[in-house]
């Protein structure tokens, strides 16, 4: 929407630290973390549970304030939820009292009112057709399977043409087959739209499959253990997983995860030193 010079990063995170305080105890959840996301880049945030990857995502989404450090989206400091952000969660989070198409139109209805939402119905149906839900626009969410609801959630995320997609383990609750299928679909969509995406996952293969860069995070306090540049063609399909090159990236990410884990656990990283 706002034209920016291309050298302004889509997301800029500098020395970000986030702590939580509960019952007088301060937990150091994240950081310091620094990361620059280029426009159109697909970033996977990979790490074990509790490594602060969701915290990082929520700070970028403006849902959490940084304890210290800088967070910018499109060159503007993130204070509250930025405009043109689309988000997906682990669950589809459909409102059960609305039809599927009404759910997809919710972001427009909230931002621009009911009339604008009604005017955008065609666009919503196009999106639903794109994810194979063309015939389900007027169904209620509880009539659809979890995977179908999650596809509708993709449409809801995209309905306002967001520049930045924030995905918090979006297919984590789905079975392996559906998940793989959804990943391929999502990748196609983001490639077509050229969207910038931050994708949180704890699956190594999923991270490598989806991302241009895999940001590997260490256990609490979450820090960046390393970044794997994935140089695979952008039109990836499920078969690529078996390729030599893909496995190399997976191994690299796995090694970084191990380093991150050992560091967090206080184990010396020199191989064999502790055994």
């Amino acid at each position: 929407m706002i034209s920016e010079t291309t050298d302004v990063p889509a997301v800029l995170v500098q020395d970000l630290v986030r702590t939580f305080t509960s019952r007088g105890q301060t937990v150091h959840a994240l950081g310091p973390v620094s990361l620059e996301v280029r426009r159109g880049e697909f970033i996977a945030l990979l790490g074990p549970s509790g490594c602060g990857k969701t915290t990082l995502l929520n700070v970028v989404a403006g849902l959490l304030a940084p304890t210290s450090g800088i967070v910018e989206a499109n060159g503007h400091s993130v204070v509250g939820v930025p405009d043109d952000v689309g988000m997906m969660f682990q669950k589809a989070v459909m409102l059960p009292w609305r039809t599927i198409v009404e759910n997809v139109l919710l972001p427009i209805e909230i931002a621009e009112g009911k009339r604008a939402a009604r005017a955008a119905t065609q666009r919503a149906i196009q999106l639903l057709e794109m994810v194979g839900l063309g015939g389900f626009a007027d169904r209620m969410p509880n009539e659809l399977s979890g995977g179908m609801q999650q596809r509708a959630a993709i449409c809801r995320m995209l309905i306002r043409d967001p520049e930045l997609l924030l995905l918090d383990e979006p297919f984590g609750a789905l079975d392996e087959f559906t998940r793989e299928y959804m990943n391929v679909e999502l990748l196609k969509i983001t490639a077509t739209l050229g969207s910038t995406a931050l994708f949180v996952t704890h699956s190594i293969t999923e991270a490598v499959f989806m991302a241009d860069r895999v940001v590997v995070m260490s256990a609490r306090p979450g820090r960046i253990a390393g970044i794997v540049d994935v140089e695979l063609p952008s039109d990836r399909d499920a078969e690529i997983v078996t390729s030599e090159q893909f496995q190399t990236y997976v191994r690299r990410a796995r090694d970084l995860l191990k380093v991150g884990h050992d560091q967090a656990a206080g184990v010396p990283t020199v191989k064999g030193a502790s055994r």
């Binding site: 059960p96 009292w97 972001p107």
Partner: protein, 283 residues
């Protein structure tokens, strides 16, 4: 081949055998048998002279009193007029309870003043035996419909208020996050998220209110007199026409049940996305 095919069926029968016998009899049959047994015991107790017929009328007497009452109702006689009065008191009381209950519930859930001031006051009032207010209402509002309606509403609005406040506070965390990310304002969050979330709770409160409002109306009729089924119960009672009292109690129960069902029906229309309520929903 045939053995492999019958094996699962046999296993199924074995599983069936473990289901308790009562589980396999339809509910309505059990209810009918239980009721018949109860009436039988009732008849026996009176016939055996364990309890004087003067104190406890026989089922037969009660049934014929019920028939008389039904005829009176159907012919639009005195019972019908009294019936209409009580229905009117109950429904207007319920409507008032709904409006006041929802309004106060919203104020408690949505405002600091409501949470800090109104809520504690209401809890204190909740603990008070509200039936004791009936004579006061009669003194204030006389012998017409007003004291009965006020009494019905006073007793009935509490569950609506409590459930409305609880429902509005019970928003799903993920849905809340979705509304934060879509930058919804307070008003939008209320109408598009909180209120739909609260609706099933509000209806649960309304169902309690339906039953309570008829109690309120009858209690006020006992105190204030005038017209109504409660007045008829009192009159029949002091003239020792206990069979008539029993028949009137049956009529009042049916009335309460019908109002309850009406609320349930409205709930099914309004909260269409959720299968709940008294009657089993078609799956």
């Amino acid at each position: 081949m045939s053995t492999t095919r019958t094996a699962p069926a046999a296993a199924g029968r074995a599983l069936d055998a473990r289901v308790p016998a009562l589980e396999r009899i339809p509910g309505w049959v059990l209810i009918t048998i239980s009721l018949a047994a109860l009436v039988g015991i009732w008849q026996l107790v009176v016939s055996a002279g364990l309890v004087s017929e003067f104190v406890l009328p026989t089922p037969g007497d009660t049934a014929s009193a019920l028939v008389d009452l039904s005829k009176d109702l159907a012919s639009g006689g005195q019972a019908w007029d009294n019936f209409l009065v009580t229905v009117q008191e109950t429904l207007v009381g319920l409507l008032l309870a709904a409006v006041i209950g929802v309004a106060l519930g919203v104020v408690i859930a949505e405002t600091v003043f409501g949470r800090k001031v109104i809520q504690p006051l209401m809890i204190a009032l909740y603990a008070a035996p509200k039936v004791a207010l009936a004579p006061l209402f009669v003194t204030w509002f006389g012998f017409g419909l007003t004291p009965k309606v006020v009494m019905a509403a006073t007793i009935a609005f509490f569950p609506v208020m409590v459930d409305t406040a609880a429902g509005l506070a019970g928003v799903d965390e993920d849905q809340d996050k979705l509304f934060l990310v879509t930058k919804a304002n307070r008003v939008q969050r209320f109408w598009k998220l909180k209120l739909p979330t609260a609706l099933p709770f509000i209806f649960a409160g309304l169902k309690s209110a339906a039953v309570l409002s008829i109690i309120g109306a009858i209690v006020a009729e006992f105190m204030g007199g005038g017209e109504g089924l409660g007045v008829m119960v009192k009159t029949a009672s002091v003239s020792f026409a206990l069979d008539r009292v029993f028949a009137l109690i049956v009529l009042l129960s049916v009335l309460a049940f019908l109002i309850y069902l009406a609320v349930d029906l409205v709930e099914r229309k309004v909260v269409h996305w959720r299968a709940s309520g008294f009657l089993p929903a078609e799956s």
